[in-house]
Structures are given as structure tokens and as C-alpha cells.
């Protein structure tokens, strides 16, 4: 696989070199990435588990949705921002990593998922207050599978043969 020259340009930027070879920046950005996973993942898990009736079942779904959404959004923004920085540091390696492409494909599916279930579930959370629809339960299960898959694929990037990280 030949590397597009744009990737080599990215690796030559000062920001990329600073993150990749600066010592502390890489694990610090990785640490913030993980903390964001805790924030986003916690809010996501609770929201999805509520749709499945497994947590806070006595509270209305819309109540929960509006309370957790800002934190989910904050977590999503910081995951994406730190993820971009980590990718900016090692674009050539990531380009050659199958797990990275699996992760990005799942990320694209997350976008599809949000769009598909917006009309029936996420766009009108009040509709679920009387009773959770089977469509909403399906949305919750798929959401859990997609995000768990992203965690696993993300972790596997460090183990891809073509990838030689400074740490695991």
C-alpha cells in the first residue's frame, strides 16, 4: 500500500512531530481520550440501558435523555478532538492499520445509526415516555454493539503488525 503524500506531509508538521516525539504529549492526549470515553461511555450506557428498561426504569426516558445529552456531547467532542490529534501524530501508521479502518467504518455507522433512528427515537424522546418502542430497543442494542466494537477496534490498533507504537 502506498502512502498518499498528504499523510507524509501531516507527519512532517510541527504539531505531528511534537505529539509523536515529544514524550509526554502522546500519553496525556491518550489519557484525555480515555477520560472522555468514561464520560461519554457512562452517559451512553445509561441512556441505552434505560431504553432497554434496565436502569432508572421508574424515571421518564425524556427526563434522562435531556439530562445526559450535554455530557454525552461534551464527551463526544473531546473524544473526537483528542482522537484527531492522536491520528495527526501517526497518520502513515494508522493508514496501514486494518483495525483503524474497522474503527472508522464503525464510526461512520454510528453516524448512520443516529440518522436512521432520529425520527423514531432520538429526535422525539418524549414518545418513549409512555413505553419504550421496539424500534428504540433495537436502536439501544445497536448503539451498544457499535460503541463496544469501536473500543475493541481502537485497542487492536496498537496490536496491528504494521503498527509499532511507543507504548500499548
Amino acid at each position: 500500500m502506498t502512502n498518499p503524500s498528504v499523510l507524509e506531509w501531516i507527519e512532517s508538521t510541527r504539531l505531528s512531530i511534537a505529539i509523536r516525539e515529544g514524550g509526554l504529549p502522546y500519553p496525556i492526549i491518550g489519557g484525555i481520550h480515555l477520560l472522555s470515553i468514561a464520560l461519554f461511555g457512562g452517559a451512553l450506557l445509561i441512556t441505552d440501558l434505560r431504553l432497554l428498561g434496565l436502569v432508572m426504569a421508574q424515571r421518564r426516558f425524556s427526563d434522562l435523555w435531556y439530562q445526559f445529552r450535554p455530557w454525552k456531547r461534551l464527551g463526544f467532542v473531546t473524544i473526537t478532538a483528542t482522537g484527531l490529534l492522536l491520528a495527526w501524530a501517526e497518520p502513515v501508521r494508522l493508514y496501514g492499520s486494518p483495525s483503524f479502518w474497522v474503527k472508522m467504518s464503525l464510526f461512520a455507522l454510528v453516524g448512520v445509526h443516529a440518522r436512521v433512528f432520529r425520527a423514531g427515537v432520538y429526535g422525539h424522546p418524549e414518545k418513549q415516555d409512555a413505553g419504550i418502542s421496539s424500534q428504540a430497543k433495537l436502536a439501544a442494542v445497536l448503539s451498544l454493539v457499535l460503541w463496544a466494537g469501536m473500543v475493541l477496534a481502537g485497542r487492536l490498533i496498537a496490536y496491528d503488525a504494521s503498527f509499532e507504537p511507543t507504548g500499548n
Partner: protein
């Protein structure tokens, strides 16, 4: 676990999901204690609702963590980041099962509740940060 290249990252992923569940739900209660979110129910109600999931997350963490430790116990034992992480983890767990449980009760002084929330957020963040540093130091 050392025999298959797949097992370690799978266990590690479960570890991540475990801490998202435990630390994520603890953070939600902390944000409620700080008065910046989850305001539609009391801190006591929120904590009671989320506690089973927090504990499930802790159980997953404390199962997958030692499994990973067992693959290279000596190296982990002498790793400064690991030692730092374990110290913070012990303090964070102690806080969670003592001070944190009292902080959500009605009638507690708001200042004490906020103090407990800040210490909880800082300790759990250090646990995650220390964990990330293990591979680098």
C-alpha cells in the same frame, strides 16, 4: 492469556467498558453533587439508581485488571505508573464506599458534598491517567 494475541486486547477492551460504566456513572453523581447537571432528581435518588451499574463496572474493572496484571506481574509491580494508579485506585474506592455515599444524603452541607465530588473526580481521573502512563513509563 499470553498464548493468544487476541485475548489481551479483548480483556483490555472489557476493562475500558468496565471503567466507562463505573467511572462514568460516578462522574454523573459527582456532576449532580456539584450542581452542574442531572438536576431533575436528587443526588440521593441518582446515586441509588446508578449504584448497581457502578458496582458492575467496578467488578468488571477488578476482574479484567488483575487478569492483565497476571500476564506480566513483575513488570507491572515495578512500574511507577502502575504503583501510582493502584494508590489512586485504593483511595478512590475507599472514598466511594465511605465519604461519597454520605455526600449524596439529604441534609449534608453543600460545601462538603462539592468537596467530595471534586476529590472523587480528581482521584478517578488520576486512576485513568496513571493507567494510560503504564505503557510509557
Amino acid at each position: 492469556m499470553n498464548s493468544s494475541e487476541w485475548v489481551f486486547p479483548i480483556v483490555q477492551s472489557l476493562h475500558f467498558i468496565g471503567f466507562a460504566l463505573s467511572i462514568g456513572t460516578i462522574a454523573m453523581v459527582d456532576l449532580r453533587l456539584l450542581g452542574v447537571g442531572m438536576l431533575r432528581q436528587s443526588a440521593a435518588d441518582l446515586a441509588a439508581d446508578l449504584e448497581p451499574w457502578t458496582r458492575l463496572g467496578i467488578v468488571i474493572m477488578l476482574t479484567t485488571g488483575p487478569l492483565m496484571f497476571s500476564t506480566d506481574a513483575v513488570a507491572y509491580h515495578f512500574n511507577p505508573s502502575f504503583q501510582f494508579k493502584m494508590t489512586c485506585l485504593a483511595l478512590a474506592l475507599l472514598l466511594h464506599f465511605t465519604v461519597h455515599r454520605r455526600a449524596v444524603r439529604p441534609g449534608i452541607s453543600p460545601l462538603a458534598a462539592k468537596g467530595a465530588a471534586v476529590i472523587s473526580l480528581v482521584l478517578w481521573s488520576l486512576v485513568v491517567a496513571g493507567g494510560r502512563m503504564i505503557a510509557f513509563i
